[in-house]
């Protein structure tokens, strides 16, 4: 017979005091069950019981709102943990352990990596910045010069104008890439660490996540403001999201075999 219930794991937290601070009151887990903290030598696993069949249905089923519900619950519990303690390592969405003993084993066997990871994100929050084109791109000089009449274009003149437009667009893209890189440098200087953002693979000039100390957030946001103004003048748009739990700044894979 297969196991029916498991322990959904949201985050690992670190305590300075011997007693774990209570998570914000009535927070409920992915299955509408109570969230609890399993403690082990100054580390805590934030967990709730979960019905395995139900969770499997969330992922296998075609209902998108079940999936977003899972993500939102996961996030809400991690946020509650962030409110309660300074050191929080979020777990991967959908992590389920066999039970409380497994959670204790995990905290025990990986105490070193977890403590190191917690120290690195101590009193820090994550922010995301993307830089992309604004919807109304600035018209290129060449395009602006071409009058309505000449637009109809006769052979060579048309091709030459087209060439100029392409060159101009290339110059503009290169300049924009430089500006985006300069922004990234300026912002990184106020952050503890930087990591590639979720969309860094394509379509945007910059997508980075920043781990920022709570005490440095004012400085970070001032720099972001300044950069945003510079970018607008160049037809670019800076978008800031956050503050997030340090999703992008955690140890990646931890193996525990009993």
């Amino acid at each position: 017979m297969t196991q029916q219930r498991g322990l959904y794991l949201y985050a690992v937290v670190g305590f300075d005091t011997s007693a774990s601070p209570a998570l914000a009151g009535d927070i409920l887990g992915v299955d509408d069950t109570a969230v609890a903290t399993i403690e082990q030598d100054g580390l805590g696993a934030v967990v709730s019981e979960v019905d395995l069949e139900q969770l499997a249905a969330v992922v296998d089923g075609a209902e998108p709102d079940l999936l977003t519900g899972l993500a939102q619950r996961h996030h809400a519990v991690v946020l509650a943990a962030m409110d309660a303690v300074d050191r929080v390592l979020p777990l991967r969405l959908g992590t389920v352990l066999t039970g409380p003993d497994a959670a204790r084993q995990f905290l025990d066997r990986r105490a070193g990596e977890l403590s190191d990871g917690l120290r690195e994100v101590d009193a820090c929050r994550e922010w995301g910045i993307t830089i992309g084109q604004t919807d109304d791109a600035i018209p290129t000089a060449a395009a602006a010069e071409g009058g309505a009449g000449s637009d109809v274009g006769v052979g060579t003149a048309y091709l030459r104008r087209r060439r100029e437009q392409i060159d101009e667009a290339q110059r503009r893209r290169a300049a924009q890439a430089d500006v985006a890189a300069a922004v990234a440098d300026a912002v990184r200087a106020t952050a503890v660490r930087a990591a590639p953002g979720p969309r860094s693979a394509g379509g945007v000039l910059l997508d980075e996540s920043y781990l920022v100390r709570r005490g440095s957030e004012d400085r970070f946001l001032t720099v972001v403001d300044d950069c945003g103004s510079q970018l607008r003048e160049r037809g670019l748009r800076l978008r800031l999201t956050g503050p997030w739990p340090p999703y992008s700044f955690v140890p990646s894979t931890l193996r525990v075999v009993t």
Partner: protein, 117 residues
Amino acid sequence: MTAYSAKPRPDTLGDLLERVLDRGVVIVGDIVVNVVDVELLTLKVRLLIASVDTAKSMGIDWWTNDPFLNSGARRDQLQAENEELRARVEALEGRLPTDAIDTPRRSPAAPERRSVE
């Protein structure tokens, strides 16, 4: 003008999905119940993010109210992402046993029949 710092606007559902997706500590080993296929989950969430129509049908109002999601730029990004994801779905399906796939797969074109009379 403090367009960004004054009051960061609430993050959209799309932002949230992107942020929690394939991030966070991964535990490997026999203490983990593999009830969720992480790669499948990741893929599903990505497709979800990529589909504005699906998102609208979810009826979460702060999602539909967000002007960012209605911009053309976003849609272009989504299209590019959609294409990338389709490629990844195909790659993933290729790794499954063929009987586990219920969607039609592109098979190599049948050799053209030529009559040589």
